[in-house]
C-alpha cells in the first residue's frame, strides 16, 4: 500500500484522517514542511474551522506555493476542499488556493434546515471517476460545514441540503471531499482507498 502525506498545519483534525488511512494499511507521514510536501507521493489537505485562519497558517508555513504546484494526487477534505477554490465569502472575503474557479459562499439552505449542515447525507454521483470507484449511488457520507463550494464543472458528486451541495470535486490531479471520508463509514473508507490507489 502506498505512502501518503497529510498536511498537519494546525487547522485540521489530522489524527482522525491519519487513523483512517492507517486502517487501510497506508504509511502516513504528517508534515508542515514545504520540502516534504513538494516531494510527497500523494498529499491530503485536511481542514476545519475558518478559511482565513487556515490560509494564514499555510502562508506562514510557506506551504501555499508547494500545494499550488503539487503535481501528484492531492485530496482536500472538508475545509480542504473549499481551499481549492479561488476565494471565499468567509470573514468578509478570503483568497484561497485558486486551483478551481469559483467563490465559496455561505450555506443558506432555507427554512427548517439547520446550519451548519451537520450529519449524514446521501451522495448523488454525477460522473464516474477513479476516486468514486465502487461507491454506490446514494451512499451515506458525514458532512459538517457552514459554507458551500460553487457547483460547476468540477463537481463529481452532490448532496442535497436545500439545494445542491458539491460533495466531491475534481480538477486535474486535485480532488476534494466536502464531507469527512475518515468519518463516513464504508463509503468514506472506499474513497480514501481509491485515493491511495490513484496512479501517482
Amino acid at each position: 500500500m502506498s505512502d501518503v502525506t497529510v498536511l498537519s498545519y494546525g487547522a485540521g483534525n489530522v489524527a482522525s484522517v491519519q487513523f483512517a488511512l492507517e486502517r487501510l494499511g497506508a504509511t502516513v507521514r504528517l508534515t508542515d514542511d514545504p520540502i516534504e510536501v513538494a516531494e510527497a507521493e500523494r498529499l491530503i489537505l485536511p481542514g476545519v474551522g475558518q478559511a482565513g485562519y487556515a490560509m494564514g497558517r499555510l502562508a506562514d508555513l510557506g506551504l501555499v506555493d508547494p500545494i499550488r504546484a503539487f503535481p501528484r494526487p492531492l485530496l482536500g477534505v472538508c475545509l480542504g476542499q473549499q481551499l481549492l477554490f479561488a476565494d471565499s465569502d468567509e470573514g468578509g472575503g478570503t483568497p484561497l488556493l485558486d486551483l478551481i474557479p469559483g467563490r465559496v459562499g455561505r450555506l443558506e439552505p432555507g427554512p427548517g434546515l439547520p446550519v451548519p449542515h451537520m450529519g449524514w447525507s446521501r451522495l448523488a454521483i454525477d460522473r464516474a471517476d477513479p476516486l468514486l470507484d465502487g461507491v454506490d449511488e446514494g451512499s451515506w457520507a458525514y458532512f459538517v460545514h457552514g459554507y458551500l463550494c460553487p457547483d460547476g464543472p468540477a463537481t463529481l458528486a452532490r448532496a442535497d441540503y436545500g439545494g445542491p451541495v458539491p460533495a466531491v470535486v475534481r480538477s486535474a490531479n486535485r480532488w476534494g471531499c466536502q464531507f469527512h471520508p475518515e468519518r463516513s463509514a464504508e463509503a468514506g473508507a472506499r474513497i480514501l482507498k481509491n485515493f491511495l490507489e490513484i496512479e501517482a
Partner: protein, 255 residues
C-alpha cells in the same frame, strides 16, 4: 437532507464504560473502545463519550482513550468532561475527537464558546445543556454530575441556548433532566420550543425508552439527532431494530 442521527452516549471512567444514573451504583459495561466498536458495527451515527470522573476530580479528560477510540471509529464522536479551556478542547481534537461538548464551564464563562468557535470552528463546539421544568418554563442546571453540587444556574433554558448559538456553538444537546433515566419518552414540548428558537442542529437527550419515543421526537420536535444511553447499553433496544422501525415509519435514517 440529513438522516436523523441515533447517538449512543457512553459514560466513561478510567477507560471503562459504566452505566447507571451518574454517580450512583456504577456497573461496569466493559472497555470503552470495545463498546464503541460494537455500536459502530450496529450502525450508530455518532457517539458521545462523557468522562464522568474528570470534572469532579478537577482534571480534564484522559486523552489516551480518546486516541484509542479515534483509531477504531469510522463515524464521528464527541467527548465531554472537564473541558474548560480552548487548549484542552484543541487537544481533544488533536487526539482524534470530532467535537467537544462543554456544559458547566460554558455557564461559568460563556466567552469560552466564542473562543473555541474562533479557534477551532463552530462545527466542533457542542454546548450541552441540562434543563428542568420550573413552573411553565424551563431553567438551566449546572454541576449536575454530582448530586451535592447540582443547582439551578439562574438562566432560562431558551435564553441560554440562543445565547450559546450567538456565541458560536455549532450544536446544542438539550438534556431534559425531568425525563432522564425514566424512559417515558423525550420531552417533546421542551425540545420543540428549543428547536423553534435555534438555527443550529439540536440533539435530544433524556427519556428514551422505546423505538416509538425516537419516532415522536423526530416527527414532533424536528431534532437532528437523539441521544440515549440505557436503552442501548442494556440491550433493550438494539440499534438495527430501532433503525428498521424508524425507516418503516418514514423517518429517514442511515441504514
Amino acid at each position: 437532507m440529513t438522516a436523523r442521527r441515533i447517538i449512543p452516549c457512553l459514560d466513561v471512567k478510567d477507560g471503562r464504560v459504566v452505566k447507571g444514573v451518574r454517580f450512583q451504583g456504577h456497573a461496569d459495561m466493559g472497555d470503552a473502545a470495545e463498546l464503541a466498536a460494537r455500536y459502530r458495527d450496529q450502525g450508530a451515527d455518532e457517539l458521545v463519550f462523557y468522562d464522568i470522573a474528570a470534572s469532579p476530580e478537577g482534571r480534564t479528560l484522559d486523552y489516551g482513550w480518546v486516541r484509542d477510540i479515534a483509531r477504531l471509529l469510522d463515524i464521528p464522536f464527541s467527548v465531554a468532561g472537564g473541558i474548560r479551556s480552548v487548549d484542552q478542547a484543541a487537544r481533544c481534537l488533536d487526539h482524534g475527537a470530532d467535537k467537544v461538548s462543554i456544559n458547566s464551564p460554558a455557564l461559568e464563562r460563556p466567552e469560552l464558546i466564542a473562543e473555541m468557535a474562533d479557534r477551532l470552528g463552530s462545527q466542533c463546539v457542542v454546548v450541552g445543556v441540562d434543563s428542568k421544568a420550573s413552573g411553565d418554563d424551563w431553567v438551566v442546571h449546572q454541576y449536575t454530575g454530582s448530586p451535592d453540587a447540582s443547582r439551578a444556574a439562574g438562566r432560562r433554558t431558551l435564553d441560554w441556548i440562543v445565547e450559546a448559538q450567538a456565541l458560536g456553538a455549532g450544536e446544542i444537546v438539550l438534556n431534559c433532566m425531568d425525563e432522564d433515566g425514566v424512559r417515558r419518552g423525550y420531552d417533546i414540548a421542551q425540545l420543540a420550543a428549543a428547536r423553534a428558537v435555534l438555527t443550529i442542529p439540536l440533539v435530544a437527550s433524556g427519556g428514551a425508552g422505546s423505538a416509538e419515543h425516537f419516532q415522536e421526537v423526530f416527527e414532533q420536535a424536528d431534532v437532528s439527532g437523539a441521544l440515549a444511553a440505557s436503552v442501548f447499553h442494556t440491550g433493550t433496544l438494539p440499534i438495527p431494530d430501532l433503525k428498521a422501525f424508524l425507516n418503516a415509519a418514514g423517518v429517514e435514517v442511515r441504514l
